[in-house]
């Protein structure tokens, strides 16, 4: 990556100030800070799961079928305490939840990165090129958004089969349109500004104007949508897994764990389904709290 010579228009100081002001504004609301903290803890815990989980729930050497369906707080054959109980295979639920969180978060984040990149490119291109191309693309986006994402993803997955990569692929297909619409909206506003006119006067190549000048200025609203969509992707993935069309049994996400616990719930063994669900809900709420605050902080109309 070769950096182009720094232009005087992009002095570093004001930019840092804006970031600081925005950070200060974000902190003003306690619920957003709590959300962010929970999210950070969740990410760290998910990353460290193999090292901090009491056992590896998918290593058959470490689990004992004699431990199955123990209520929370029971002692396992190995002498460990299963604080959240065990499932039908004798796995410690706390460990299963930590590993599940890892899969749920990585599916959510990967989806958003890929779908965001595709959607943002399509959206900014539509606004910049305009004409027939824009009309066709936006019509597709409208149609896409009119259809419930759960149905599209369900059909795609029943065609592809199970697998983490397939889930991500299906979620990307479902989600790109949200970014395309958001980015096009902000790009339409940006293209009318003077700096784009200046770029054209300088006769910069179009792709360079598009990716180096227009796209970076459309990022703030994109961040807001992306945050909320991480929650959306995790929710959708867990719903699909619950319906039996998501991740494989060997790599269970939180949704998969809930689905496995579902059949035991009617007989009163609540912990298998309830605790993964609590984890899922806490993470989703944390993301939504952060997203809610970012929407206000990053909106130039509201910040003045």
């Amino acid at each position: 990556m070769s950096q182009p010579p720094a232009t005087p228009a992009r002095a570093p100081l004001p930019k840092q100030n804006i970031l600081l002001i925005q950070a200060a504004k974000f902190i003003e609301k306690p619920s957003a800070v709590v959300g962010l903290l929970i999210l950070l803890v969740a990410v760290v815990v998910a990353l460290l799961a193999p090292w901090i989980a009491p056992q590896n729930p998918y290593d058959l050497m470490q689990i004992d079928i004699m431990d199955n369906m123990l209520p929370p707080g029971s002692e396992l054959m190995s002498g460990q305490i299963a604080w959240l109980g065990t499932d039908s295979q004798g796995r410690d639920m706390l460990s299963a939840i930590l590993y599940g969180l890892r899969i749920s978060l990585s599916v959510g984040i990967t989806t958003v990165l890929i779908a965001g990149a595709i959607g943002a490119t399509v959206g900014v291109a539509a606004a910049f090129i305009g004409g027939r191309f824009e009309a066709v693309v936006m019509r597709i986006v409208d149609l896409h958004l009119a259809f419930p994402s759960i149905l599209i993803a369900l059909v795609l997955l029943s065609a592809f089969g199970r697998g983490i990569d397939k889930v991500i692929f299906a979620l990307v297909i479902v989600q790109w349109a949200y970014y395309a619409r958001t980015v096009r909206g902000s790009a339409l506003v940006e293209t009318r500004k003077d700096y784009i006119a200046a770029c054209e006067v300088l006769q910069l190549p179009r792709w360079r104007v598009l990716f180096r000048h227009l796209l970076p200025n459309c990022i703030p609203p994109l961040i807001v949508v992306a945050t909320v969509q991480v929650a959306g992707a995790i929710l959708l993935e867990s719903t699909l897994s619950f319906l039996g069309a998501g991740v494989p049994v060997t790599e269970p996400s939180l949704g998969m764990l809930i689905s496995q616990g579902y059949s035991y719930m009617l007989s009163g063994k609540y912990w298998i389904a309830v605790f993964p669900g609590v984890m899922l809900v806490v993470v989703i709420i944390a993301i939504n709290l952060v997203g809610d605050r970012l929407r206000i902080v990053l909106n130039p109309r509201l910040s003045s």
Partner: protein, 325 residues
């Protein structure tokens, strides 16, 4: 206006055709239905006969052409599992899902409108804040988990309501309705609540912002100055103005409600269209899956078309800008 209408309808037809291609392609990848239909120890001759009977030995384009021609005539094949036309299988389940969706929609409105108006009238108050926080919760909770929790609380622990199934139904005009019997209603409470939760949060948000907007208008101040009572202001001025966006959103969200019934019906073993889709996917019952998807597509396209046309009728700016484009 006529030109706009024709173009819109033409677009809708094109969308349906595109969806037909996609659905056909996706379902073609679903797997070989013969494997699901025949017992594992059937011989080659039985297999070949089954393949020929289902038309699976013909070239792909021929299968698609035939599929499209039959679909236009309303014949979407015979269900592999039930042995009757797929469209009939779907129609048998349709009233169940519609009934549940309508019930859920009414529930969402009954919960959402009053709470939204209260939150909008007193934005900073404890009640207002609690309601808005509750609506964030409603957006965040996964429907299937809410369903599980409701079963755990009301069916397993308290044993007040049934955990699944449809209960007693009454036949009216050839369709079974559960809302006409007490037992059926009891079976409907939990699924409908689960389905309604997300929409109720949406209604709360829309009503809240609508009410806040209306509250700052002059006519509310004049109504107050005139000495109108609290209820008169709410019912005459606020409620009516807030209803416009609510009705719009509910129209658009009804389709989403039908789609989400897939999840809710699976949890509660509620024998509707959504449960049919899941079980048909699992049993590789291709015609039923195709019928479900095409039916849903047509429904969505028609809903969108009607909404667009209504907007064009109501707002001249839309059709003028479209015509000049």
């Amino acid at each position: 206006m006529t030109a706009y209408l024709i173009r819109r309808i033409f677009q809708a037809l094109f969308v349906m055709l595109a969806m037909a291609v996609l659905v056909f392609a996706a379902v073609y990848m679903l797997g070989n239905p013969v494997d699901a239909l025949l017992s594992p120890d059937s011989d080659q001759i039985e297999r070949a006969a089954a393949i020929q009977r289902l038309g699976l030995d013909r070239p792909l384009y021929e299968q698609f052409g035939l599929f499209l021609w039959n679909a236009v005539r309303g014949d979407l094949g015979t269900s592999f599992v039930y042995g009757i036309p797929a469209i009939e299988v779907l129609m048998l389940r349709l009233p169940t899902t519609l009934e549940l969706a309508v019930f859920a929609m009414l529930l969402a409105l009954a919960i959402g409108i009053p709470l939204g108006i209260i939150a909008g009238m007193r934005p900073g108050s404890f009640a207002g804040k609690t309601i808005m926080a509750g609506s964030i919760l409603g957006f965040s909770l996964p429907a299937f988990w809410v369903g599980l929790m409701l079963i755990l609380i009301f069916a397993v622990t308290l044993q007040l309501l049934p955990s699944g199934g449809r209960g007693e139904t009454v036949q009216v005009f050839g369709a079974n309705f559960a809302s006409l019997t007490l037992d059926g209603l009891k079976h409907m409470i939990l699924p409908a609540t689960t389905l309604a939760l997300y929409k109720a949060s949406l209604v709360i948000r829309v009503c809240e912002s609508g009410t806040r907007e209306v509250m700052s208008q002059d006519y509310i101040r004049f109504a107050r100055a005139k000495g109108l009572g609290f209820w008169r202001i709410v019912s005459l001025h606020i409620f009516k103005n807030v209803m416009i966006p609510v009705v719009t959103i509910m129209g658009m969200e009804f389709g989403g409600l039908l789609a989400f019934s897939v999840v809710v019906e699976t949890i509660y073993a509620y024998q509707g269209m959504g449960e049919l889709l899941i079980s048909s996917i699992n049993r590789l019952d291709r015609p039923v899956v195709v019928t479900y998807l095409l039916f849903t597509t047509v429904m969505f396209v028609v809903i969108n078309l009607v909404v667009d046309i209504l907007y064009a009728v109501l707002d001249p700016r839309i059709r003028l800008s479209e015509e000049s484009a």
